[in-house]
């Protein structure tokens, strides 16, 4: 516990020191970076102790803080993403940190980390809400780093509104939570409020609108931190506060399953339509959050069905995918930041051929992309494999609705996986392969070691996750035990079986690498003493192909995007070639967010219209206000006496019992 406090103090010290020394860029950077690093190392000790060792949960006697496995599961990605993101920041900020902006950045970076840590440490709803709001505000400041650009400010405002809308639901939720554990219809209300409030942070599909706006606007390390670590905390909130072990597990399961499926498919389809690299990555985060939700959904349904195999596979798959997504998305966003610094644009149709300029960044980006498309032998495959296996087990053992859920889950995962591979192939090829498509890309600067090394750390973390995946899955056991009433020994033996599968995949992955190596040796043997030349690319006999004839990223995904046009509604601006000797022709395709365009915009416009009508009341006449108040009072009196006669009787004995329940809750005995 002491180390956890120390970490928070270090974050805050680092932040305030950076703010203090903001006139000196170097000092501010040093203070901020050291604050993050030392804080993270302090966090790492207790987290690793509870995660890989045998340490038990601890809680503070005086303050409403406690630290258990659930905290550790969500705190570990924070630490894993924060360290490389912080190391990446100094290089990324160079050129942007005039006027003390560097110091301010470090202050908010540290404070975001501190508040994220606090969120995972407090089971007390009120403290949780405070930490949660602080996290939203601090990260808002980070998103608004480039505050002079109107576009950034628009994105930052969207993020702020989303945060506050989420907080509004959470305040209601916490008011309802105050008291006896809720059952029946009130329990469901609590769950849906939580789903709305935390779903806004996770980016569950119709609630995801802030993600594709905020990520392209924020600096790359901030996007990495938010996407890799902060989105997950929504799931943490749901698990810590909202989901009751005694609650209706089927309802939880079906909600997660439906939202997860919509999120996974919707996220990846909209990712296909994007031209901005970071926007594409943001949509891919929505997809991956959907996949995690699918896993949790299967886990809860398995729990409701008393099926130990499905429950353990679903939960452990979700947790493993959460870890994989955190490091992969962190790495991908940092690569995107590197590209932005080198070529000054993130539009994929204007990039290309960067692999020659930035070989390390390009190679790592390619590997991360393959991994996040869930292709073996990379770590991203493992989580999806377990979720797939949960669904296939459901096909064998379950009947009725559970069977339907499993089949649905398999189909969604298959289609998502197929499209995701296409989307990431597009990202890799449009940015790094082929010929540069614009002067900016042709004159791109070469990569800096200060940027490559943090990205490399993510690659090492990927390898570590792959190697320790059985250990990570073992940690699902207490969670499954907490949420379901399955026998613990069954869960543990099932998790050991799962470790066996993961080991088998590991062996086959090694086999794949060995076979690849043998093929390469064979190839090298064949080309011994043979001639090897370079020539121009074969372009159907045309002698001088240039970059304008190359397939662009938009062209690559055009068949898919057009096929799903009934969902995506891409906007095309065409200038057709005219006359016999056409001079200019152009085509621009853009896929704005569907939920924003077709759900929220009309809804907000309607709200605006209604508010316009109601404004008559706000005319400034005091008489009118008094009249309104009197009318309201009379109505309330009528309501109170006519429908609830018992409310007029003051109940004295009720109050004491209420208080007692409250204190028992504040003790926070959830683990």
């Amino acid at each position: 516990m002491k180390l956890l406090y120390a970490a928070n103090l270090l974050f805050m010290c680092g932040g305030f020191l950076a703010l203090w020394t903001r006139r000196e860029n170097f000092l501010a950077g040093l203070a901020g970076c050291l604050g993050v690093l030392s804080g993270c190392i302090c966090l790492l000790v207790p987290v690793a102790g509870i995660f890989f060792g045998s340490a038990g949960p601890v809680s503070s006697k005086m303050l409403p803080f406690s630290f258990d496995l659930l905290s550790a599961i969500f705190l570990l990605p924070v630490v894993m993403v924060a360290i490389p993101a912080a190391l990446f920041s100094p290089c990324y900020l160079k050129g942007h940190d005039t006027n003390g902006k560097g110091g301010v950045y470090w202050f908010f970076f540290n404070m975001t980390l501190a508040s994220m840590t606090l969120v995972t440490l407090t089971p007390n709803p009120l403290f949780f809400l405070v930490a949660w709001e602080m996290m939203g505000l601090m990260s808002f400041a980070l998103v608004a780093f480039e505050y002079k650009s109107a576009e950034t400010m628009r994105a930052a405002r969207t993020y702020l509104y989303a945060c506050h809308a989420g907080a509004a639901f959470l305040i209601l939720l916490i008011v309802l939570l105050d008291g006896d554990p809720l059952t029946g219809i009130m329990g469901l209300t609590v769950f849906f409020l939580g789903l709305a409030g935390f779903g806004l942070k996770i980016g569950l599909f119709p609630l995801h609108v802030w993600l594709p706006e905020a990520h392209p606007a924020a600096p790359a390390p901030v996007s990495a931190l938010m996407s890799g670590a902060m989105l997950n905390l929504g799931f943490y909130g749901l698990m810590r506060l909202v989901i009751q072990p005694s609650g209706p597990l089927e309802v939880y399961g079906w909600c997660f399953l439906t939202l997860g499926a919509i999120g996974a498919l919707g996220g990846i389809l909209f990712a296909a339509g994007q031209d901005n690299l970071k926007r594409l990555l943001a949509y891919s985060s929505i997809e991956n959050m959907g996949v995690i939700a699918l896993g949790l959904g299967l886990g809860f349904l398995g729990g409701a069905d008393d099926d130990v195999i499905i429950a353990s596979l679903g939960f452990s798959g979700a947790i493993l995918h959460l870890f994989n997504h955190a490091v992969l998305k962190g790495g991908l966003f940092l690569c995107a930041g590197s590209v932005y610094k080198a070529a000054d644009t993130l539009r994929m149709d204007r990039l290309g051929g960067l692999l020659k300029r930035m070989p390390w960044t390009g190679t790592l980006f390619t590997l991360f992309s393959l991994s996040i498309s869930a292709l073996p032998p990379f770590n991203g495959f493992l989580g999806e494999f377990l979720i797939y296996l949960a669904a296939f087990t459901g096909i064998v053992t379950a009947t009725g609705p559970m069977f339907a859920a499993s089949l649905f889950c398999i189909l969604v995962l298959a289609l998502t996986g197929g499209i995701a591979a296409g989307v990431f192939v597009k990202a890799v090829s449009a940015v790094f392969l082929g010929e540069p498509r614009s002067p900016e890309a042709a004159d791109a600067k070469s990569e800096k070691p200060g940027m490559v090394i943090p990205i490399g750390i993510f690659a090492i973390l990927c390898l570590a996750i792959a190697l320790w995946s059985p250990a990570i899955c073992q940690n699902a056991s207490p969670l499954i035990r907490y949420f379901t009433d399955l026998p613990p020994e069954d869960i543990n033996s099932q998790l050991i079986t799962i470790s066996g599968y993961l080991n088998k995949i590991g062996i086959l992955s090694c086999a794949a690498l060995v076979l690849f190596g043998l093929a390469a040796l064979f190839r090298a043997f064949l080309s011994r003493g043979r001639e090897e030349r370079t020539e121009g690319t074969w372009d159907c006999g045309y002698a001088a192909p240039d970059a304008r004839m190359e397939y662009t990223g938009s062209a690559f995904v055009q068949p898919t995007v057009d096929f799903f046009s009934f969902l995506l509604h891409s906007v095309k601006r065409v200038r057709k070639p005219e006359k016999l000797f056409p001079e200019e022709a152009s085509l621009e395709v853009e896929t704005p967010d569907g939920a924003g365009r077709f759900l929220w915009d009309p809804l907000f416009r309607l709200t605006g219209k209604i508010s316009d009508k109601v404004r008559i009341l706000q005319s400034g006449y005091l008489h009118l206000y008094i009249l309104v108040m009197i009318v309201a009072l009379i109505l309330m009196l009528v309501w109170g006496f006519a429908f609830h006669p018992e409310t007029s009787v003051p109940g004295t004995s009720e109050d004491n019992g209420y208080l007692e329940v409250q204190t028992a809750q504040a003790g926070g005995d959830r683990s």
Binding site: P376, G417, I419, A421, L515, A519, L526, T537, W538, F563
Partner: protein
């Protein structure tokens, strides 16, 4: 190691050696229909050996991705082959969920090929890759639907069990579902292996190619490796189809293996006949056909559930 597993090793090695014969049989069948004599059966081997002994020419635009892709494709497909129960045998490496790994390894091979193609910056290779990625997304959904059916039918969770877990009885009891699923798989096999009516391996116009367009810039040993890999992939998919359609389990391993190889032969002839009597479809129609296949497979599952009482 059981007898079935030792036979697996023989079948595995035989498959690696014999897989180029499969397209050879298809070509001979097509030649027969066209009234030609056709190339010798061993011509495919000669071609590969000739290619392996040549030098290579690479595009100036390309990086190491183009050079490494063929080996990655071969490595992924060979690893997938380690899991496959050739000829009703048992793969010693089978484990629960290995069919997911199997089809994702095929996916990896495809993605590597596409990355290699895009590395050259050629517009035609971009075109082929773009089509390949679109069709494969749909094909993957169909394949997993078919897998769900087989898992439901057999109650097993690995490729060996799924493909060996039923016999002719399954065709008698739930023939309609089996027919639907086998039909859907046949369509997917043709898509994945880039055969007519989805793609024409013998076309000579870059604009209309898929697989061939992606390998325009390869020559020499690289081309040889890629050709061999595509034969291996076709062989594995065709084996899946044969084991689906011809589930012989006579108890005698030798007759099983013989039935398997003759089934492969018949499938090759069948594909040859189909390619001779059909033209390639329009590209815009292909996703619709694949969605049709998906619906057929789903209908198979539903029929199975409604009429056969579900899990056996």
């Amino acid at each position: 190691m059981s007898q079935s597993q030792s036979v697996w090793i023989i079948c595995f090695l035989l498959s690696l050696v014999l897989c180029p014969l499969f397209p050879a049989v298809i070509n001979r069948t097509k030649a027969f229909f066209a009234g030609r004599h056709g190339p010798r059966y061993l011509q495919v081997y000669y071609d590969i050996f000739k290619l392996l002994r040549k030098g290579s020419v690479y595009s100036r635009t390309a990086t190491d991705v183009l050079r490494l892709a063929p080996m990655a494709v071969l490595g992924a497909l060979l690893t997938a082959a380690l899991l496959f129960p050739f000829g009703m045998t048992e793969s010693p490496l089978a484990f629960c969920g290995d069919f997911i790994l199997f089809f994702y390894l095929l996916g990896l091979a495809r993605v590597m090929l596409v990355l290699g193609a895009l590395d050259t910056g050629s517009s035609f290779e971009g075109m082929g890759s773009s089509r390949e990625m679109q069709f494969s997304a749909f094909a993957e959904a169909v394949i997993f639907c078919i897998l769900a059916f087989l898992v439901l039918l057999t109650g097993r969770l690995h490729l060996t069990g799924v493909l060996n877990g039923f016999d002719v009885g399954a065709w008698i009891v739930s023939g309609t579902s089996m027919l639907f699923v086998a039909g859907a798989f046949f369509l997917v096999m043709l898509t994945e292996a880039c055969r007519v009516p989805f793609d024409d391996p013998e076309t000579h116009l870059e604009l209309t190619m898929i697989h061939e367009a992606m390998i325009l810039d390869y020559g020499g040993p690289d081309l040889g490796i890629i050709l061999y890999s595509s034969y291996l992939k076709l062989w594995m998919l065709a084996s899946f189809f044969v084991m689906l359609v011809l589930p012989v389990s006579s108890g005698d391993i030798l007759s099983n293996v013989l039935a398997y190889f003759s089934g492969m032969m018949l499938t090759a002839v069948g594909i040859g006949v189909l390619e001779s009597i059909m033209a390639r479809f329009r590209f815009l129609k292909i996703p619709q056909l694949l969605i049709g296949a998906f619906c057929i497979a789903l209908a198979g599952i539903i029929l199975m559930l409604v009429f056969d009482g579900g899990v056996q």
